[in-house]
């Protein structure tokens, strides 16, 4: 078997019009941006073009420099290994005698500005600051490193070009706008995707009330094969703006569809609740009439910048409509709906962080095939407890479990290894199980 596989779905190089995630100064600031020749990024009081980022490898690192024509992003060739310096546990220096005041630095702000104007690089300014610091040599090597990093962030800020992936998109939202995604942390999301058995060629029923993050993550795992079917109650589908961040190909976008619950439920009412009853006329009628949600979907997709401006870099200049990704979230094709009515969905995945979960679950669970797994996210425990209890009483599912993922990050450095001092203490609750045939 050839190892050369088609990795088209996983491009390694940026292109004009693609969405990227910019990580400024090692996570200090995160933002999504669309790479166009005209888009700009503001760091501190300096604005620079994102043009140099087009056609680069994801993972490339840039540093803000000042040239003749103003600030620009320049690729960083070699990352200096600051971390390797470490500090020895036996280091004799300590802070017994250190008195910190503001007189330690002899270089003035004006002098630094003058250097910049003369084209001195950020790295050189940092070195100059160190050379002119009266206390630098007295610091422990740990403090020296901290000092250097602080100056580097200020005078030579770095921009890391990241590919938006479910992982990085979830982390960014969780850090910046946790309420928009109902506090769904990346480990909870990963658990949902596993437990709902998401894979190519499946038919996944999704209830996504977290802005499209769940929909996008599911679609990413399916690679354009099978269907991601978003369902909703009423006439308006839930917004799935976040899907745009994933840079999905048209092929994948086409497989992200929406369908109102009422339409999907027709079969359910017919087969499960009233077995043997002939399909009633109003279902058919609904199917042939234009889907009630198409208008609303358009509205949603036409004005994304307004809805979402806090996430897109504000400095990213007018986005050219031409290179915009294909629309995700079209109406589910009739043939697919028909097939789901016959065989059921292969799994269910839900994130309804503000809802009474049970009122939804009892409506959507019957749309699954028997033996189909499901995974439900909530930001509160009690709604899932109620859900689990009712599913048990109703003998609708087995293998029920409520789990809360727990995630901890570590600093691993020579002689200074420990868990991070601050942690996200909460990433939500997940109820999982398998639908059974109760007859």
């Amino acid at each position: 078997m050839s190892i050369e596989l088609n990795s088209n779905q996983n491009p390694k190089i940026t292109w004009e019009g693609c969405n990227v995630l910019l990580d400024i100064n090692d996570g200090d600031r995160l933002l999504f941006a669309r790479l166009t020749p005209g888009s700009t990024l503001k760091i501190g009081n300096k604005s620079c073009s994102l043009q140099p980022l087009i056609g680069c490898h994801f993972g490339s690192l840039f540093q803000l420099e000042t040239g003749d024509k103003g600030p620009f992003l320049s690729p960083v060739v070699e990352v200096s290994n600051q971390e390797e310096k470490g500090c020895k546990i036996d280091e004799p220096k300590d802070n017994r005698a250190l008195v910190d005041n503001n007189t330690a630095q002899s270089l003035t702000g004006d002098e630094i500005e003058a250097m910049r104007r003369e084209g001195v690089t950020g790295d050189e300014i940092v070195e100059a600051l160190i050379a002119n610091s009266a206390t630098f040599d007295k610091k422990t090597s740990f403090s020296q490193e901290k000092y250097r990093l602080k100056k580097q962030k200020k005078y030579a800020p770095r921009v890391l070009l990241r590919r938006p992936f479910a992982r990085s998109i979830c982390e960014t939202y969780f850090k910046k706008y946790p309420t928009r995604i109902g506090y769904l942390r990346v480990d909870s999301l990963s658990l949902l995707l596993s437990m709902a058995n998401i894979t190519a060629h499946s038919d996944v029923l999704v209830v996504d009330m977290i802005g499209g993050l769940l929909t996008g993550a599911v679609a990413e795992r399916m690679g354009g094969m099978g269907y991601v079917c978003n369902t909703y109650l009423g006439v308006n589908p839930y917004p799935i703006d976040i899907v745009r961040m994933f840079n999905f190909s048209d092929e994948i976008c086409k497989r992200i569809v929406q369908s109102p619950l009422a339409e999907l439920s027709a079969r359910e009412n017919e087969i499960s609740l009233q077995p043997g009853q002939p399909e009633d006329s109003c279902n058919t009628e609904k199917l042939t009439s234009p889907p009630p949600n198409s208008v609303n979907m358009d509205e949603l997709m036409v004005t994304p910048e307004n809805n979402n401006s806090e996430i897109l870099t504000t400095a990213a200049s007018p986005v050219s409509k031409a290179c915009k990704a294909a629309k995700a979230g079209g109406k589910a094709p009739e043939v697919a709906i028909k097939s789901w009515r016959e065989t059921g969905f292969s799994s269910l995945i839900m994130a309804v962080p503000d809802m009474d979960a049970w009122t939804i679950v009892k409506e959507v669970l019957p749309l699954l095939s028997f033996s189909a797994p499901f995974a439900i996210y909530h930001q509160y425990l009690q709604p899932l407890v109620t859900c689990m209890h009712n599913l048990q009483l109703g003998k609708m599912a087995i293998g029920l479990q409520i789990a809360e993922p727990w995630l901890r990050e570590y600093q691993v450095l020579p002689s200074r290894t420990h868990p991070h001092m601050q942690m996200s203490a909460f990433g939500g609750y997940v109820l999982t199980g398998t639908r059974i045939c109760s007859t």
Binding site: M1, I3, E4, L5, N6, S7, Q9, N10, K12, H57, L61, N81, E83, R163, R167, D187, S190, L191, L193, S194, N197, T199, A200, H201, S202, G223, G224, G226, T343, G344, S346, S369, F370, S371, P373, Q382, V385, T386, H389, Q392, I398, G399, L400, Q401, I402, A403, E404, P405, W406, L407, R408, E409, Y410, V412, P414, T417, Y429, T434, I436, C437
Partner: protein, 311 residues
Amino acid sequence: MLPTDSVKRLSFKRCVSEGDLVIVYERHDNMKAIKVCESAVLQNRFGVFKHSDWIGKPFGSKVFSSKGGFVYLLAPTPELWTLVLSHRTQILYIADISFVIMYLEIVPGCVVLESGTGSGSLSTSLARAVAPSGHVYTFDFHEQRAASAREDFEKTGLSSLVTVGVRDIQGEGFPEKFTGKADSVFLDLPQPWLAIPSVGKMLKQDGILCSFSPCIEQVQRSCETLRSNFTDIRTFEVLLRTYEVREVKMNSFQGDEDRSTELPPCKRKQRLNEEGNGLENPSPPVVMARPSSEARGHTGYLTFARLKCAA
């Protein structure tokens, strides 16, 4: 286990047939994988189950034994498989598996290298993530273990997605033919730092490595080695806390707010004394959850790193 093309689309409505792998579910902590064979029977504490009774029933059905006991027949998934596979080595559990797949950014079409194969618990989930067009190449130095894993992948129908090799990755590194071909690499080795230089060669630009180690000393040494060639080095621990759901009757003291203001203190006190311990006022049961008492406290540290971009 997986739908490998659009024709064999996942459709659990599909009925159990001869030769199918089914998960026989007794209880959440008692399951078993069985190949359906018309002439065979399953015997457990609930009685004797004839496979022939199962054929034609939809997956997810309850089936009965001769003496009226029952089990459920489930379609296998990587998660169920992880619960039933034979533990040839310490296996990875669902919290780690899920996080690894997510953090390695594995999607359909990816090429993933893994060592060691162990019991194949992670490989199964890797296969699901790269399907249908990607591939998992997994290596174990233990010949017998590799052979058993290969058998398992046959059984679960994943052979077209997973190739098992026998190789000492710590000693020899990954085969040269994978140079620059891997999207992600997963290591579960006692001395991962020995394999890291080879991983650096195998990965595509911006590709990601994950190393799983139970001990912090392994992590420290790996991170030291990683710093020369990798970036974005991050170490995590992931655990799952599970909850027990039960109906609880919370007793309450007799004296309730209303009474304490309605009655003069003297009467109230007498009443309390008359009524014994004052605890006999059971409220209606409420459904509440409490974390399970015992849990897995540690599995291992997950260290991720991204190959440095040659810019």
